[in-house]
Symmetry: D3
Subunit: 252 residues, 6 copies
């Protein structure tokens, strides 16, 4: 089983971190590779950046998805995931949806732990896109960049433990989602120090893809994730235009 | 007052039709211009096509919005409108939201009349994005392309009247939204022949922009439509990258 | 195009203010007149006052709607608007619904700025009647009467700017609705001093009526706003009873 | 305990029927009287008729509520009930809310059996006003007037049994609400012939008022049903105007 | 009319208190008896305790329901009530649903006054099970056990008055539900000292059962409360197993 | 890693089938065991049967959970899962929630394929308990018992393929959930013959438990799944009573 982790951002460091975490948690016979977007933004914090990253994801995947059994979209963001599910000839899952759905099983009220400055709706959009408004306790953000987080893990762990405890006491959370690839490995490290479960996006996405492929998951030819009707496009890369030109509509 | 109608698709014919309808309905002192996307898809029917059109819209607007007081996004689709509202230095409105909000005033239960084959969620996404699920009677589609619709208006009018009457009888609609620029001029033509109001997207968007600008609408510096924090990007056009580089975060 | 602004309250001063604001914003060829209720309450703050004002509106309109192309209900209240839409032989719109729907386009989270003492549900009822609960950031009220507001506009502007800024910071609002006719002209005055848009009810109602009539809006003969079945009544004014006696049911 | 059943319509026959049914089901020490509206419509089927009946209810109650411990609003309609709860100096309950809340206890999915032609939203408005959309199986209407129903009870019983069985089979109802005073006595008569419970509005309203008064129910001086602030009115009857003039605001 | 109050807990003191309150409020011709669960927990505070109490309720009722016209489940908890409604050959109602539905009539925003330590979702589950989320102002708890409450009623009254006033001021409640049998008699005692109504569960359940039985309520043979299909069970008491063995499916 | 699959029903055949399927899909180092309830019902179809099975589950688990790292509740039903999560000293997950959450990732609109006669709300209760109403396309049932299904797999496969295709065409489903342990192995077999994904409950529960344990999942000491306060019980088995007696409340 070969799985591609596609980072819609341009940060190779974050891509490497996700691949590493995935390899630590995948089954022995699963092969993991990662790619970053060829252009666009180094991380996603706003809706215009989502628009850039969505196009960059499709364009990059168009050129590099061959040979993989499934694609994991490696950003804690959901807006562009349905587009990739539709256009790609292989099954696609996002790390945000994998983490948020697992959290709904491990708890009743979810707090998302996010990074950096208030992110203008990126996490709120995930919640709305997944229809989870009534399952959320809060969104809490650390005053750190992804780079700062990975440079001093011990300090970051303390901050997440502190915010997690506040989320439990003040927001009545009973599960935490560590909302970003930069939190790789933290869930295991803090497990004995927070009184509720913490969910890691990448390992959950891997586990979901593995079991889904093992039980027959294939690119759908009907429904919301089936390919669009063939269509001529203008000014796209040869590979991206080619996906539109050759698509066979499942729904029509 | 100068308003730019930006078509996120590549069809110049549809852009011309929207400009023409806008000019017939704008105030005497309003100036209207139109542009089409420089690349992408000729019309939007699916989520991957929305992703392409959203990027094309931002890239095209980055190069051509100067000198306008406001931008109207000229596609019956909403997914990419919040990104344009955020990134552009001038106010932005979409024709879909203008039509749907007017319809909520003119009736209680809305039927959207759409074009062509079932569109895999484009209209459903408008409804979800605008939070209007409980206000919708139905979506009904004509078996026509935009081109066919404009080539034989008399036939198209009959089809909309027929579908509209069915929507009223079977779906209990009490207002119709003509869901696309290709319906330009139809609302007036059929008004005496359908027993409920029909809403035209482009004139409603013009009226909304005119009154909003007259009563002080400016680019917000706070909230969901304020600009993102400045950010270095890779591989974008000079003008699009420039918008990200120069942005000053209102929210942070 | 002749439009009647019908104030369901007895305050002629407020009616004059709405007419004046409407004339400043209507198209050159639109003619605006105003009437106040012949009996009832000077302003609406509670549900029993809404019941009085609703009857007064129907009775007053029954005697004075002739010759107009459309009616605008001039109170920031929605409860009685559907009754007027149903009974009147011409199209009817309320200033509250016009303002609130425009606000949904200009922002994601709305704060209503209201007047005087907590109004026991009048604004809450608008929100519920329009199905907008999930789009509201807050309701904030000024400790002023409508008369006080109009007597010292400069002071009132400062209070709205202060409350607006608090709504943005504390309630995460990104659009303000100035909830009442007494705010006439304020949106333009404060536009450069609040970082999000402010919406004026009367100009938005005028713009909506103008574009709707231009694109074919007529009294519906089907649906929620079609006339009721003819019915004999007892003890109503001749004109109001006459509307019920002569009505032809569209729905039955 | 003295209870007044106030019919907001002008039909004395219907008032008498409600009083009769109430007396058959009240406790031995409860005294029941009834009044009809002094003016307005003979029955309520539309929103403009609700506006007329709401005012007629307030005006009639203002003159005739003295000496009663509580008022029951005797129409299967809810729009004007909150206004009466607010303005009257004694507790008020509507027969529609009493029936619908009892039905939520006796079943999970409710079918309302209504009368006459499709009633343009009266029943739909009850459901929306009470926030019960997700508890409703269907609304089914008999092709009868209230008079016809009471003239041939045996035939009416058969029609309700037939519609009730269809509601169970086709709409998955598990409780029926007999939506109107004209159904007096029917629930008992058909109980052994329909396989789910049927709810009578008037007896349920009586039972609710009796237990509420017995356990301390008084006119609230705080909250949504507390009296409005004192206010001068114009052109109202002496008694109705007097209620507004003398009111002491609980909320302000 | 003979009514059985079945306490799913093992506390005979609480059962006696409920029977006493019911007898003070029932009609003269109503006979009331009470039983406690034969095994299980002394009071219910958590979901695992609900699971124990639900089984104990079914088992106890299976042996002791004969001869009654209806059963009232005497715990302020709803989770197991639908199971009893389904399995018992007579109609069943819970005191929690009776109180909460009455409260929806007496006010718009409900505060539940509960007992003891935060109860881990028992009250929250009632709200969710009854679909009442949007009707709730708050849940407020007294730092008392049921025993403490009944030992010093005067002190308990003061605490409820204080919490009730806070609920009105801070949470905008306009009706209180006294959430438990231990509050018997308090609603009448405090009625003149709190400015909004207070609802007693047991008297409301009695009133509902009396009027429902009087108007024809019988065990349904269709719908959610009809008996399950006959089924062989293992290891249940003879009487409980017998109910399953003899049941005749109404739905199938 | 040792995982216990606890079947709350008494059918050893179904337990064996679940263990077998789990062993085919677990990681090489995972050890799986299964137990059936010691008493109760052979399968769950109604709410009273859920009440029996919930108690049987707690009682059986109390005696047999020692030595396991986590428990999987092996019934396509959710009502009693939160009670087990609360009372058991190890983490607990249900196969229904695991399947339904995975389905929300693999599609937008879910059809549940169920067994036997209409099950009176068991599947509807899962949907309500998980808050998934707006994500469901339909519930479709096969006219088979679990035994019949497993005896002729080829025939059962054809029936599921036929119902699945109808769900896609008529209900617009884009993912199927095979709602019961008796469907073990079917998802893989039919994958190439239905155009949308099919989800198997048991393998998804295993995958979720494996990744959650690997990333730190422990019994929570706070929140909805933390243990209740210690409490004396009456008449329970020594082990079940012991769990209540020794519990240490995390929330209090």
């Amino acid at each position: 089983m070969k799985i591609l982790i596609a980072n819609p951002n341009t940060s190779d460091a974050m891509t490497a971190m996700m691949v590493d975490e995935a390899r630590r948690h995948c089954r022995p016979d699963t092969e993991i590779h990662g790619i970053s977007a060829d252009f666009g933004v180094p991380y996603i914090a706003t809706r215009s950046e989502m628009a850039i990253a969505g196009y960059a994801l499709l364009d990059t995947l168009a050129r590099r998805h061959n040979g993989y059994d499934a694609v994991i979209v490696g950003a804690f963001c959901h807006a562009f995931v349905p587009a990739a599910k539709e256009l790609m000839p292989v099954p696609v899952v996002g790390i945000a949806e994998a983490a948020m759905r697992a959290a709904q099983i491990l708890g009743r009220r979810i707090t998302i732990i996010g990074l950096g400055a208030p992110d203008r709706g990126a996490n709120e959009d995930i919640i709305a896109d997944l229809g989870m408004e009534s399952h959320i306790a809060s969104i809490r953000r650390l005053p750190l960049s992804g780079t700062q987080l990975t440079e001093d893990q011990a300090a970051a762990d303390e901050m997440v433990i502190e915010q997690g405890k506040k989320a439990i006491e003040e927001d009545h959370a009973d599960v935490l989602v560590l909302g970003g690839a930069a939190f790789a490995g933290m869930a295991e490290r803090i497990a004995t120090r927070v009184p509720v479960p913490a969910v890691s996006p990448v390992p959950n996405a891997i586990a979901l893809v593995e079991v889904a492929l093992r039980t027959g998951w294939r690119k759908p030819s009907k429904g919301a994730s089936s390919p669009p009707a063939a269509k001529q496009t203008t000014g796209l890369s040869e590979e991206l235009g080619g996906l539109f030109a050759s698509a066979v509509a499942g729904n029509e």
